[in-house]
C-alpha cells in the first residue's frame, strides 16, 4: 500500500477486529458451557435400512453446534464434550439418503442412538433438494446442492464448469480457466462466490478473464442459495450466492485419521488433477491439511486446438482447531497459485493471447461459542485476511497489467434460539476493508474501501405457512489515493454509498405434495472501484476500460413465484421471476478505439435501467425401481429498458435431461444438453446458434472395511459436435471442447 493513511486505516480496522472478537464475548456474553455437568456425550452407530449392515465414512453433523464427526468402519461414532439441549443430527453419506433427527442431550449423560439410512436414488441431472435447511423437517425453499456422487460426476476444471446446466446456471468463459458462474443472467458482482461462507478476495467478479481462486477437486460440497438467506452474505445477491465448502478451519471431533484423496484425468486437454484432504487428532487439537495440483494443456475442439488455454494450479492449506464443549477456536492458512492462458482473439487486439499468473494467500481465524442463553444458541466470530496478486503478460513476455488486492473480512454472527413460531434467526455484523492497487499501463488510482453491514434473518413457522425474511443495512466507502479530474472518468474523489436491502419469502404448504410460494427482494449494490475509477487497457479482456466516477448505487426489485410438487423420490419445480434493476452498471462497448491504445476498444461503465424475466423448470421422476429421469430447463430475457435493446451476454434457452439406471452402488446415465439460438444480442455482440450435445456417465462406489472407493467416468460430447456457447467471449475463435473422456477416482479413509 503506497498510502500512509490507508495503512493506518487498515491497522485500526484490524485492531477493532481483535477487540471485538476477543474481548466483546468476554464482556457481553454469559458462560456457555462450563456449568457443572454441561459435558454431554452422543454415541451411535449407523446401519443400512433393511440389511442392518454398518455404514462407515458417514458424516454426522450436529447442526446447531456446527460440530461433526465421521463414522468408523463399523458404523460407530462418538461426539464428546457437547453442550446440553435439543440439537438436530444430520447425516451425509454417498449412496444414502440424508436424514435429520432431532435429539435431546442431557448434561452429564451419554445418549446412545442407532441411525438407519435408506439407500438414495441419485439425482444425476436435476437439483438435489435439501428438504430442510432448518433441521425441523419443514419444507423451505429449495437450494441447489452439489455433494457426493453428483459432485464427483460433474467435477470439472472450475467451479463454474462443475455446476453448469443446473436450473438457471450458465458459465461465463474466456477460455476454460477463467470461468465464472452466471445465475439467471446475473454474474459478476451481482453473484457472490464464497469459500467456507466468506468472500475470496479475488477479482473474478470484475472481468471475464479473471479466474475464481477456488479449486473444485478438494471441495466438499457446493451450495447455491437464493432469496432471504442470500442477504445474510451480502446485499448484492440478486443472482444468489454460490458457497463452496472446504472446511479450512476444522470443527470435527476425531479419534483417528480421516480424509480423502482424488485423482482425475481427461482427454480433451490432456489434463490431470490430484488432491487430498486429511484431518487428524493432534493432541488436544484437530488438524486439517489439503493440497491439490492441476495441469492441463490446450483444449481440443472439433475444429482444432484452442491455443493458449493451458492451466497449472497449485493449492494447499493447513488448519488447526481446539474443539470443546464450549465450541471451538481455530485458524487456517492457504495458498492458491495459478497460471493460465487467455486464447487469442484476432479481432480483439491480441492475436497471440495473454497469459495470467495469480496468487492468493489467505489466513483465517474462526471461533464459535455455544452460548445457549440470553436468546442465543451460539455465537460465531471469524476473521479472514487475503492477499491477491494478479499479473497479465503479453505473448512476448511483457508484463501488461498487474493488480494487487489486500482484503480483510470480519464477521460476528449470533444464532438466535427458537421462540415459538420464530425459528432459526440470525443477527449479524459484517465489516471488511479492501486495498486495491494496479500497475502497468493504468491510470486507475489505488483505492481503499471500507464496508460495514448489519443484518437480521428470521423464519416464522405456522401450520401450513412458512415465512422467511431478512433485513440488512450496508455502508461502503471508496477512497482513491488522490483526487483529480480525469477527462474520461470524471472527478475522481471519495464516494460513499449506503442503503437497506430486504427479502420476504412466503411458502404455502398446500398438502403433503404441493407447495407454492414466492419471494420479494430489494437489493442494493454499490459500484466497485473498477466501475468508478478504472482507466487503462485490460489486455486479457481485449478492452480499454474507462470508469464513471459519477455512477450511482444499483437497486433492484426481484419477484419470484414458484410451485413444488414432491412425492417420495419424485419432484417437479417450476419458477418464474422478474428482476427490475435501476442503474444496472455494465461496461458498454463504445465502438471507439482508445487514443492511447489504438489496438483496443473503449468500454465505458454506464448505469441503465434493466429488466430481466425468466422461468425455470426442474424435475426428477422414477420410472421403475432402477430407472429414473431428471432434468432442468431455464430461460432468461433481458432488456435495457430506455434503449429497447437486449441486454448483452444473456444466455439462451438451455435444457438438460438425464436418463439413469441404477443398481446398488452402480449407476449409468445418458444426458442431453441443448440450447436454442440466441439472437437477442446487445450492441457489438453477435448471435449464437443453438446445439444439442450428448453425454454418458458411469459411476460405481465400492465399500471395504477400511476404505470407500468412488469411480466416476464420463464421456462428454460423445459425437464430437461443433457447438458454441453464447457466454463464451472467444466463441468466434473456436467452438467448445470436442469429445472428452474423463475419469475421477476418489478414496475415503
Amino acid at each position: 500500500m503506497g498510502n500512509r493513511k490507508m495503512s493506518i486505516a487498515s491497522f485500526v480496522f484490524r485492531m477493532a477486529v481483535v477487540f471485538i472478537a476477543s474481548i466483546f464475548p468476554v464482556i457481553c456474553l454469559p458462560n456457555p458451557a462450563v456449568s457443572p455437568g454441561a459435558n454431554a456425550t452422543l454415541k451411535g452407530v449407523i446401519v443400512e435400512e433393511g440389511t442392518a449392515e454398518p455404514i462407515g465414512f458417514a458424516n454426522i453433523l450436529l447442526q446447531e453446534m456446527n460440530r461433526s464427526v465421521t463414522s468408523q468402519e463399523d458404523g460407530s461414532f462418538v461426539l464428546e464434550q457437547l453442550a446440553a439441549g435439543p440439537v438436530t443430527l444430520k447425516t451425509f453419506r454417498i449412496g444414502y439418503r440424508n436424514i435429520a433427527v432431532p435429539v435431546e442431550l442431557t448434561a452429564g449423560d451419554t445418549l446412545e442412538i442407532v441411525l438407519i439410512l435408506p439407500r438414495a436414488v441419485i439425482h444425476m441431472g436435476g437439483v438435489t433438494v435439501e428438504s430442510s435447511r432448518t433441521g425441523d423437517g419443514s419444507t423451505v425453499r429449495p437450494d441447489i446442492l452439489f455433494s457426493d456422487k453428483k459432485l464427483h460426476q460433474a467435477l470439472g476444471q472450475t467451479i463454474a464448469q462443475t455446476i453448469d446446466y443446473e436450473p438457471g446456471i450458465s458459465q461465463r468463459t474466456m477460455g476454460p480457466a477463467p470461468a465464472r458462474p452466471v445465475l439467471r443472467g446475473l454474474g459478476g458482482d451481482r453473484l457472490m462466490m464464497l469459500e467456507d461462507s466468506e468472500q475470496t478476495g479475488d477479482l473474478s467478479a470484475t472481468s471475464t478473464d479473471h479466474a475464481v481462486v477456488i479449486e473444485p477437486i478438494t471441495a466438499e460440497r457446493i451450495e447455491v442459495i437464493r432469496g432471504p438467506e442470500a442477504l445474510v452474505y451480502g446485499s448484492n445477491t440478486l443472482g444468489g450466492v454460490i458457497n463452496v465448502f472446504r472446511g479450512y478451519v476444522p470443527f470435527k471431533t476425531l479419534s483417528t485419521l480421516s480424509g480423502s484423496a482424488s485423482l482425475q484425468g481427461e482427454t480433451t486437454n490432456s489434463g490431470y488433477a490430484g488432491g487430498f484432504e486429511m484431518a487428524a487428532p493432534l493432541g488436544m487439537f484437530t488438524g486439517r491439511f489439503d493440497a491439490s495440483y492441476r495441469d492441463a494443456r490446450n483444449t481440443n475442439t472439433p475444429e482444432g486446438p484452442l491455443i493458449n488455454t493451458s492451466i497449472q494450479t497449485k493449492n494447499g492449506s493447513a488448519g488447526l482447531s481446539l474443539v470443546r464443549a464450549w465450541g471451538f477456536a481455530g485458524a487456517a492458512a492457504s495458498d492458491y497459485m495459478s497460471e493460465y492462458g487467455i486464447p487469442p482473439d484476432p479481432n480483439g487486439g491480441h492475436p497471440a493471447g495473454v497469459n495470467i499468473k495469480l496468487d492468493r494467500k489467505h489466513l483465517e481465524a474462526k471461533n464459535q461459542l455455544l452460548v445457549n442463553s440470553i436468546g442465543l444458541r451460539r455465537f460465531e466470530a471469524s476473521y479472514n485476511h487475503s492477499v491477491y496478486f494478479h499479473q497479465e503478460f503479453e505473448s512476448t513476455g511483457y508484463l501488461g497489467m498487474e493488480y494487487g488486492v489486500v482484503s480483510d473480512f470480519f464477521n460476528v454472527l449470533g444464532f438466535l434460539k427458537n421462540r415459538g413460531r420464530f425459528k432459526n434467526g440470525i443477527l449479524g455484523l459484517r465489516a471488511s476493508s479492501r486495498d486495491f492497487a494496479s500497475g502497468g499501463l493504468t491510470f486507475t488510482p489505488d483505492t481503499f474501501e471500507m464496508a460495514a453491514a448489519g443484518f437480521y434473518y428470521e423464519e416464522m413457522h405456522f401450520d401450513e405457512f412458512l415465512l422467511h425474511g431478512s433485513l440488512r443495512f450496508d455502508y461502503k466507502s471508496i477512497a482513491p489515493e488522490e483526487e483529480r479530474l480525469s477527462s474520461t472518468v470524471g472527478l475522481i474523489h471519495p464516494r460513499t454509498f449506503s442503503d437497506f436491502s430486504l427479502a420476504l419469502s412466503p411458502h404455502w404448504l398446500i398438502n403433503q405434495k404441493w407447495t407454492i410460494g414466492g419471494t420479494v427482494m430489494r437489493t442494493f449494490r454499490a459500484p466497485t472501484t473498477e466501475e468508478l475509477f478504472s482507466e487503462g487497457p485490460h489486455l486479457a479482456a481485449y478492452s480499454y476500460e474507462v470508469g464513471n466516477a459519477d455512477l450511482s448505487k444499483e437497486n433492484a426489485i426481484g419477484l419470484e413465484l414458484f410451485m413444488d410438487m414432491k412425492v417420495e423420490d419424485a419432484y417437479i419445480r417450476f419458477a418464474i421471476y422478474q428482476n427490475d434493476i435501476k442503474n444496472y452498471i455494465f461496461p458498454m462497448n463504445t465502438g471507439e478505439k482508445s487514443w492511447r491504445r489504438a489496438d483496443l476498444y473503449i468500454y465505458k461503465y454506464v448505469g441503465e435501467h434493466a429488466l430481466m424475466r425468466g422461468a425455470e423448470l426442474s424435475f426428477h421422476l422414477p420410472l421403475s425401481q432402477h430407472l429414473h429421469t431428471a432434468g432442468s430447463a431455464s430461460y432468461v430475457w433481458g432488456e435495457l429498458v430506455d434503449f429497447h435493446q437486449p441486454l448483452p451476454y444473456i444466455p439462451p434457452l438451455e435444457a438438460k435431461v438425464n436418463l439413469g439406471y441404477e443398481v446398488g452402488q452402480f449407476s449409468v446415465s445418458t444426458a442431453v444438453r441443448a440450447a436454442s439460438d440466441q439472437e437477442r444480442v446487445g450492441e457489438f455482440e453477435s448471435p449464437t446458434d443453438g446445439y444439442v450435445i450428448f453425454d454418458l456417465y458411469v459411476q460405481h462406489v465400492i465399500s471395504t472395511q477400511r476404505h470407500l472407493h468412488s469411480f466416476s467416468f464420463a464421456v462428454e460430447n460423445i459425437f464430437d459436435a461443433v457447438y458454441r456457447k453464447h457466454l463464451n467471449r472467444v466463441r468466434e475463435v473456436m467452438p467448445e471442447p470436442g469429445r472428452n473422456f474423463r475419469l475421477l477416482y476418489k478414496i475415503f479413509i
Partner: protein, 160 residues
C-alpha cells in the same frame, strides 16, 4: 458475567486474531511503476520539419509511400500530448517498437546512429500494408498507434 468464558476460548481467540491482525499487509503492487507513463493521445511522424502522418485522437491523416527495394529518408517519431504539444519520451525509460502487418511488403529499418526515435521504411515488394508503432515502457506498451498505411510502388528511386 465477566471472565466467565472458558480460558481456552479467550486465550486462543486473542492469540489467533492478534497474530493475523499484525501480519504484513503490503499490497503486492506498488505505485512506483505507474508514476511516469507517456500520456499521449496520438503520434506524429515527420520527415525533417514536414509532417507526413498524424494519428491522433482517433483520426488518421497521411500515409507512407516508398518504392520497392528502397529505403525512405530518415523519419522522426513524436507523441502528441493531451494539450497538443509534440514530445519524445526519455530514451532511458521508453523504447520505440513497431509491427508491419506484412513484413514482405514493407518493414522498418532502424540505425543506431539515427537515434532512438528515428527510423526508415524499406519497401520490399509492391503492394500495401499497415504499420503500427508502440512506445514500450519497461515491460508494457504505453502507447499503440492506429494502423498507418504504407504503399510500396514498383518504380525505383522514390522517397517517402
Amino acid at each position: 458475567m465477566l471472565f466467565h468464558l472458558h480460558k481456552y476460548y479467550v486465550v486462543l481467540s486473542f492469540i489467533l486474531l492478534f497474530l493475523i491482525s499484525c501480519g504484513k499487509d503490503d499490497n503486492p503492487v506498488t505505485t512506483e511503476d505507474h508514476d511516469e507513463h507517456a500520456e499521449a493521445v496520438g503520434c506524429v511522424i515527420k520527415q525533417s520539419d514536414l509532417e507526413l502522418v498524424r494519428a491522433a485522437q482517433g483520426q488518421l491523416t497521411g500515409s507512407f509511400s516508398v518504392n520497392e527495394n528502397t529505403e525512405s529518408a530518415m523519419l522522426s517519431f513524436f507523441l502528441v500530448a493531451q494539450d497538443g504539444d509534440l514530445f519524445q519520451p526519455e530514451e532511458d525509460h521508453f523504447v520505440l517498437s513497431w509491427t508491419s502487418a506484412d513484413p514482405q511488403i514493407a518493414d522498418i529499418i532502424h540505425y543506431e546512429q539515427d537515434g532512438a526515435w528515428n527510423f526508415r521504411i524499406k519497401g520490399l515488394d509492391a503492394g500495401s500494408t499497415m504499420l503500427q508503432f508502440k512506445v514500450l515502457h519497461g515491460d508494457h506498451a504505453d502507447f499503440v498507434s492506429l494502423d498507418i498505411p504504407v504503399n510500396v510502388s514498383e518504380d525505383g528511386g522514390g522517397k517517402s
